[in-house]
Amino acid sequence: MAKLENREALNEYRKKLQSKDKKKDHKLISLCAGSGCGAYGTAKVYKTLVDELKKKKLDNKVEVKLTGCHGFCEKGPIMVIHPEGIFYPKVKEKHIPEIVEETIKNGKLVQSLIYKDPVSKKKISIEKDIPFYKLQQRIIFGNNGLIDPTSIDDYISKDGYLALEKTLFDYKPKQIIDEIKDSGLRGRGGGGFPTGIKWETCRKHKGERYVICNADEGDPGAYMDRSLLEGNPHSVIEGMIVGAIAIGSNQGYVYVRHEYPLAVKNLTIALEKARKLGILGKKILGSDFDFDIHISRGGGAFVCGESTALMASLEGSPGRPKAKYVHTVEKGFRQSPSNLNNVETWANVPVIINKGAKWYSEIGTDKSKGTKIFSLVGKVVNTGLVEVPMGTTLRTMIYDIGGGIPKKKKFKAIQTGGPSGGCIPERFIDLPVDFDELAKVGSIMGSGGMIVMDQDTCMVDVARYFVEFLKEESCGQCNPCREGLKQMLAILTGICEGRGKEGNIELLEELGAMMQKFSLCGLGTSAPNPVLTNMLYFRDEYEAHIKDKKCPAGVCKPLFHYEIDPDVCTGCGVCLRKCPQEAITGEKKKLHELHQDKCIKCGICYDACKFNSIVVK
């Protein structure tokens, strides 16, 4: 790979790659190697597939590509066969011989593997026809399923580094900033600050300026940044270079979680390849512009997602936030002007430059432009990453894309915005999702985590869960956050264990208001949100715990027991066989009995019964 010495060389290189792509008359099998599918065994499937193709002497005619996350993680490992776009979910090693024989060799579908839509119950064989994908607008995430993240050629052939070329040679820094400002792009990490204004402010300050990518994705339940870095690292790199040109920076950093090893690996490879081609380093593409990017691995501290804490961590110190009397765009990393944006924000930049601010700003709502990637997870049929225009309703996401709630259970709430957000009840399900609408009902859009909760989720337990998380992650510097969370946790644990008292709810409200007002950083000021919104919308559940000593969802062990509903039990014996405590007795086809003295409330029988005859009392 020789260095590309100028703009024309990059163009030539791209053209060559694109003509090669067009020539391909052979089949391409794309296999998702993202972390979700990987957890279901992509590596083994890949090896079996490559061996089988060799065995059948098809390896010269068929290309196999390990790609980044396709988004439909619930159905992993996912295989898509191009050019037709045949979609096979949940592919196992044992399916490979049949796929190769039938689909690859004979051009027929393997009927047993075709995806069945849970809503219409219809079989759908082509990827783009599946409702999960059909209702999305994947302008940022779309290339993930098509490119090998370790190949810079794959990225370049999909018009990669075109935005870099344009901004480097045709634009003045102010023009780039104006373009980003006009697009209406706002920070995707959760803050929603206008990106163009941040860049403009940083550029105004003198000194060695830094551009930094926040890949310390800490919100539990959100993983779009991981999937972007793993699946399309060059889009983030290109965004950062464009940002550096606009801001006037020669050094960039990506602060990424150590717990994301594949993201670190693919990013490292991508940076090396970009340097070799002369896209990073001294005199990029023969211009006068120098820029390089370094990786810094975080160490599992949630608070490091906060800008000042992140920069302290970059400097090799513990990540403790500082009061923001002076903003980081003026004095941040190494006391220099530092521009921090999140992974998804950076990945939006090349798209805006290529398609133009006008095109981009026509997507979305009045004040929230573009698309947003959400991680739709929890108690929903189609879990995965979903990219939709801002303003899409919760209902569309949960029911049309997500396929509804599994096992015919009842939807209860959707948690958005991670530990700084809140739980939104069913009555707001037609709310359009953007930065401002969710804030109106006491939650936030945040970085895009959407955790669906059903009737079996206890809202008091959810509040306790978030407070416990935040108590562990609080850096402990300021009193309101450190002590406030500790006391909140003690009260909530008491409620969950049946020691709740009259006045607990009011005390939680009082503590929450104090923390919102007086904590040092965003972690502390937003920490009470999950508790406060939760108490607002699900007060009856809190009261059931406190007054009646009952957990209606059957989660808080001291506050419920299981019973067998005599009208429903068929005496099938499944619960009896699965109970680890031998707490269930009964004869076949006769009503079974659950012995409370032996029951440990593990819930195995509850999950196992197909007739819902085990009930929470």
């Binding site: 975080g298 160490g299 513990p318 959810v462 593990c602």
Partner: protein, 160 residues
């Protein structure tokens, strides 16, 4: 479990040199050392002080602040149960319980034979496959109370 390990000083020096003895890379250096020993042996600290020119107190401060660093020995296999929200609502606590029973240790402890350490981890970003556990670098998705026992058995067999 206070078994001191044989430290390969050359390997440690190489790690420090890989980062050009940059004190800003302190955390990453300790992470790389942890990758060899599954923990950060405190015996290494004087060398870090000397090579990086940082105070011993800073090293302890960083080592105790970040979750990925442990100054105490950990097992050959580090079993981490994801406790992110998506895994939590799908029953991660029950997975931890099952593992605690199987390994006969509590979260944060190491088995007597030094084979397994059980930990909780904050969201590893495999939310759609929850509940999820990782064993060292391997991820196991969609686990339940019985399948995690099998996962552990497989690693036990590999070790014996």
């Amino acid at each position: 479990m206070e078994t001191a390990v044989d430290i390969n000083w050359k390997a440690i020096e190489k790690i420090i040199d890989n980062y050009n003895r940059d004190p800003e890379a302190l955390l990453m250096i300790m992470q790389d050392i942890s990758d060899i020993y599954n923990y950060m042996p405190p015996e290494v600290i004087p060398l870090l002080v000397k090579k990086l020119g940082v105070k011993e107190s800073l090293i302890y401060s960083v080592a105790t602040f970040y979750k990925t660093i442990s100054l105490e020995p950990r097992g050959k296999y580090i079993v981490s149960v994801c406790t992110g929200t998506a895994c939590h609502v799908r029953g991660a606590e029950k997975i931890t319980e099952a593992l605690e029973n199987q390994l006969n240790i509590k979260e944060g402890q190491t088995t007597d034979d030094g084979l397994f350490t059980l930990e909780g981890v904050r969201c590893i970003g495999c939310c759609a496959s929850g509940p999820v556990i990782t064993v060292n670098q391997d991820t196991h998705g969609g686990v339940d109370r019985s399948s995690v026992i099998k996962v552990i058995d497989d690693y036990s067999q590999q070790a014996s």
